[in-house]
Symmetry: C2
Subunit: 143 residues, 2 copies
DNA sequence: CCGTATCCAAAAGGATACTG
DNA sequence: CAGTATCCTTTTGGATACGG
């Protein structure tokens, strides 16, 4: 019989769960587009290919590090293609692949829901925070 | 003339950008559903209301802390409603609001794209990593 | 021009123990 | 039963400096 400590069993269970989670396709996609820049880059590249320096200017606030990192992982996942022109100075263009294009409708659906309903969310948020505030003050008075 | 240091100007620019980013509805929604548990909970609650302890069991791997935290922020944002039955022992049920329900088609679109295309993404990923590995070995040989 | 490398701060999230 | 509180690790992403 194999002896296992509680820790080992937990590690094992956790590993199995992580595996299950990684297999859930929707979760994987959210890991992919849920970060700070991927969606913005998809949009920035939706119409035409762009060179690195243009993206750096067109996407407000992105740092060189994050631009490179995000573009690399998008390339790795087959969402963009990277074309190098070894001129002087060097020029690199990024373009959405077919797979990348197929993702645009999805982000459109997300944006559409957001532009319709996000105000409701923000209202709910304010109402919730106000109510919380009231309760706090009430607690203070009764104390 | 107002004198400002470079640091102040950067802070200012950054603040303005954060504001712009916060105003982008799509980005806000991704911040909302892009976390580890929100989508899973939306699905778990899609059919019928569930009590806290059921959710804890039905959603594999979620901790008490994250369940409570996620449920709270969903409630704050008007996606779920919370009903307390002060019996002994106490009972708390969570139910999707109308707003929460309206989000289900969105996560369906995400899941749909994922179940169709995620295998392509994984293939691209492997191909990319393999190519990278080949290059590494080549570099070693030439060294 | 197009990156890489390094360091660092903030945030997310898990483990565990405790409470009304 | 339904949480809170605390501690800790991991991940994310920004700032800065340097390189081909």
């Amino acid at each position: 019989m194999v002896t296992r400590t509680a820790l080992e069993r937990r590690e094992q269970a956790r590993f199995a769960f992580e595996k299950w989670l990684a297999d859930c396709p929707g979760r994987q996609l959210l890991d992919r587009i849920g970060d700070r820049w991927t969606c913005l880059l998809l949009r920035a590249l939706s119409d035409e290919e762009q060179r690195y320096s243009d993206l750096l200017r067109r996407v407000p606030g992105v740092s060189q590090k994050m631009l490179t990192q995000t573009l690399r992982s998008m390339e790795r996942d087959g969402l963009v293609s990277r074309r190098i022109t070894p001129s002087v100075p060097i020029r690199v263009d990024y373009e959405l692949t077919e797979l990348g294009h197929s993702l645009l409708p999805v982000v459109d659906v997300i944006s559409a829901w957001a532009s319709v309903h996000m105000s409701e969310v923000n209202q709910a948020r304010e109402a919730y925070d106000d109510a919380l505030q009231e309760n706090l003050e009430e607690d203070l008075r009764s104390a």
